[in-house]
């Protein structure tokens, strides 16, 4: 396992936000954490990134116990995050924001910069614009592109679809799949469970600081309890309102991947669907 979260407990003051979360992410996977507001998804990601101290349990990454590693060192170890609310530095330009992603690394970061611009052509057009003046969708692309600048082994995404128009949501999910296809492991937190389950291999359901269910993502899509709680009702209704027709098929067959780490990584990447990220602007204008 690339990332193992072992029975972690996290407190805000005296209040317990995480009451023993155990989860793991294997190399090459997309794993999703779903759950209602306040379930502890963000806290879990913050704790993995070292922004919140553990009051119990441990985190093992790439074979090493990183429970006590300071946050700023975890980036170099290989943990990248696009945080909830995107965390764009408002007074920095798009390019400066991207370069912040490579802050921890030594040496030339122009190849990564080029790759980020290739993945998000929209960002290349706006490289000198202040980050704070970008639209929501552009900011989300910037946050993801910035996290990739560190060449992370695992990319933590906290609600990348939050506040975006449906068309942009679709685009963001397509890009996440493409990033995964190019070899980056993804731990995805979402309230948009329908979409998240469609692209993920495995999923954990969180409720008030605990994992209440874990299964291959495809199984949860058909799970009546999960449908009722997170997918807005029964099978028929949910399918009707889901992704637009252009929705991509869930990348590699989910059934083949739950045990086999090699699966997603060697998927054919001849068609980088995520590069056409520049045509969804219309949906975001505030």
């Amino acid at each position: 396992m690339l990332l193992e979260i072992r029975d972690i407990h996290v407190h805000y003051g005296k209040i317990a936000a995480l009451k023993g979360i155990t989860a793991s992410v294997d190399e090459g996977e997309i794993v999703t954490l779903i759950g209602a507001n306040g379930a502890g998804k963000t806290t879990t990601l913050k704790t993995v990134s070292g922004l919140r101290p553990l009051s119990g349990g441990g985190i093992v990454f790439d074979g090493k116990d990183i429970s006590k590693m300071p946050g700023h060192k975890r980036v170099l170890a290989g943990i990248g995050q696009a945080p909830e609310g995107r965390g764009i530095f408002p007074g920095m330009t798009v390019e400066e924001n991207l370069l912040m992603g490579a802050y921890a690394r030594k040496g030339d970061s122009s190849p990564e910069l080029k790759e980020a611009y290739e993945l998000f052509p929209r960002l290349a057009e706006r490289k000198n614009q202040a980050g704070g003046t970008m639209s929501g969708g552009e900011q989300q692309m910037l946050a993801i592109g910035r996290a990739l600048m560190a060449k992370p082994k695992v990319l933590l995404l906290d609600e990348p679809s939050m506040g975006l128009a449906p068309m942009l949501v679709q685009q963001i999910f397509t890009i996440i799949q493409e990033i995964n296809r190019r070899g980056t492991t993804v731990l995805l937190v979402e309230q948009n469970a329908q979409q998240a389950l469609q692209i993920a291999h495995r999923a954990y359901v969180l409720e008030t600081g605990r994992v209440v269910k874990t299964a291959p993502a495809a199984d949860l899509l058909d799970d009546p309890e999960v449908r009722a709680a997170y997918l807005g009702g029964d099978l028929g209704a949910a399918k009707g309102t889901a992704a637009p027709p252009a929705a991509p098929a869930p990348a590699p067959e989910p059934s083949a991947t739950s045990a086999d780490a090699g699966g997603p990584a060697d998927a054919d990447s001849a068609d980088p669907a995520g590069t056409r990220a520049d045509d969804g602007e219309g949906g975001t204008a505030p």
Partner: protein
């Protein structure tokens, strides 16, 4: 009254700019620390005071008795280097001793503020009771403070009709502007500068980028302290006086300048510094020099009442620094 103002317009402008340059350099330290930690570092005033004594020490050690022309520029550069290093180092120590332990414990901002006031008094009293008698020959002044050292031989180096600029004021102004340009380049063009800006804008995300906040805080104190040290050297060149209590009024003025420009905003500190220097000097020529401080703080109160985010008015998080 208005006649005085008109007659004194150019001299007041020049005095205002050279005084404002000093305020601006000191204000940078307040604003940078506030930007990164949301802390008003009251002891910054005393870091400045330490710099004036470093400048005095430099002049005495070099044995300068009368300097003008190129020689004065040389003395100014050496004083600025020594005072910048001493003040920068003191600021670093201050952070480690007075603020870092509180931060590690997650103490409240109020606790840090109280620690700042305590540190300020500590540094003043340390100098008054120990450092000054130990390092300096106070008998020269009959044991009295402040200590004076007359070493600048002044002459007008610019004579353009009504505009006369003396060598010391010109050095103060040019020296301060050079430091401001250097700082602007550092903050906007270097990687560490980006680290400082990212921490000021969003410290949690900065950590996600791999920014070591402790390192950023240290660098911020070091740079802010060094700026105050250079300001102290320029102040000493201009007024030739060192006193353990100098920091008090000058510190409040520089803090006023920072608030005037918009605290947390680096360019705001520069604008605020020059504006305050000019207001003070124009105010003294209008109402008499005894009204100088009244004018300065009235300006502060008016700005806080009508434009609480300062002249540049950017919110802190948006500030391009």
């Amino acid at each position: 009254m208005l006649d005085d103002f008109i007659n004194q317009f150019w001299p007041s402008t020049i005095d205002g700019l050279s005084l404002g340059a000093i305020y601006a350099l000191v204000a940078l330290g307040y604003t940078m620390v506030y930007g990164v930690l949301r802390l008003i570092n009251f002891a910054h005033a005393d870091i400045f005071m330490v710099g004036t004594f470093a400048a005095l020490w430099t002049v005495q050690t070099m044995g300068v008795s009368s300097a003008g022309g190129i020689g004065l520029i040389g003395v100014a550069v050496v004083m600025a280097l020594v005072a910048g290093a001493v003040s920068g180092g003191s600021a670093l120590l201050l952070e480690v001793a007075a603020y870092r332990p509180l931060r590690k414990k997650g103490a409240s901002r109020l606790a840090a503020l109280i620690s700042a006031i305590g540190a300020s008094i500590f540094i003043q009293q340390l100098f008054a009771t120990t450092v000054i008698p130990w390092v300096f020959d106070t008998s020269k002044e009959g044991g009295k403070l402040p200590l004076n050292e007359h070493f600048v031989s002044r002459n007008d180096v610019v004579d353009l009709g009504p505009i006369h600029i003396s060598n010391d004021k010109l050095i103060v102004f040019v020296g301060a502007v050079l430091m401001m340009i250097a700082l602007d380049q550092f903050v906007n063009r270097t990687k560490l500068g980006r680290g400082i800006r990212s921490t000021a804008q969003d410290p949690e995300t900065a950590v996600l980028m791999g920014v070591n906040i402790d390192r950023v805080v240290s660098v911020t104190f070091l740079v802010g302290g060094a700026m105050a040290g250079v300001a102290a050297a320029l102040y000493f060149l201009r007024f030739e006086q060192a006193w353990f209590f100098t920091g008090f009024l000058l510190g409040i003025k520089a803090f006023t300048a920072a608030v005037l420009g918009g605290i947390g905003n680096i360019r705001g500190a520069l604008v605020g510094g020059f504006a305050l220097g000019l207001f003070e000097m124009y105010g003294s020529s209008l109402f008499g020099s005894e009204w100088r401080d009244v004018v300065a703080f009235s300006v502060l109160i008016l700005v806080l009442m009508f434009r609480p985010t300062g002249i540049l008015g950017e919110s802190l998080q948006q500030a391009r620094a």
